[in-house]
Symmetry: C2
Subunit: 121 residues, 2 copies
Amino acid sequence: MRKTQARQAIVDLLSKSDRPVPARDIVLGVARDRPDINKSTVYRFIKSLLESQQLISIPLPGRGALYELRREGEHYHFSCEGCQEVLCLNDTKLEVGRLVPRGYTVSPQNLVLSGLCPKCS
Amino acid sequence: MRKTQARQAIVDLLSKSDRPVPARDIVLGVARDRPDINKSTVYRFIKSLLESQQLISIPLPGRGALYELRREGEHYHFSCEGCQEVLCLNDTKLEVGRLVPRGYTVSPQNLVLSGLCPKCS
DNA sequence: ATCGGTGCAAAGGGTTTGCAGGGTA
DNA sequence: TACCCTGCAAACCCTTTGCACCGAT
């Protein structure tokens, strides 16, 4: 995979965020920083990163998916139904394995909990 | 909310399925059974059911959302990354509350686990 | 009879694709 | 130089909307 200016700009934008980003924000953010980069290029690269497992997709109800660069260490996410905030949770004591029947394996990075944060409760 | 033939057909279709259904399948399924019912009506009714909390939306990575009539008792879902099957899990021993920090509350019906089923492992 | 529900067709938004030109290795 | 990557614009798909008619209460 070649390193190009467009791709660098997209990775930079994703790296700067401490939480998952909607596709819309990636496209708009790149357009703002680098108006010369076309949205097709952004979509193509997002797809390419997903296929090479370097990008994680976090699906949300009603609001499309959020994207986040794969990081060291697994973590999961929490989506507040009130304020729509999405945050990363890093509880390594997570025992999601016991939530599924015997024989199934679980990928914690795809786990999204939703509910209410303290402010919205 | 009025009971009409179109709405009955849509609810019937949703009731017959033992697992969540993509919007596409609702639209196509209704079109097959009742070609006289327009897809706009289907979309409008789905939206209406969602707003009245009678329908639950289950977001999936890359594949739009799945829909399911609200049932008695909370349950959550598992999505296999291999065969794309989605199934309902009914473990009432679920203790998702301990997965989030103090002060947060979790809605189990919005929880989607993903990973591999026994066949795809 | 009323007013919410429906069909139709068109618009809308986000994402994908074909193609020719441009940049990276 | 070779080939991947990119820009552009159009196509695409799914969903939503405006409007007039229909039908459930």
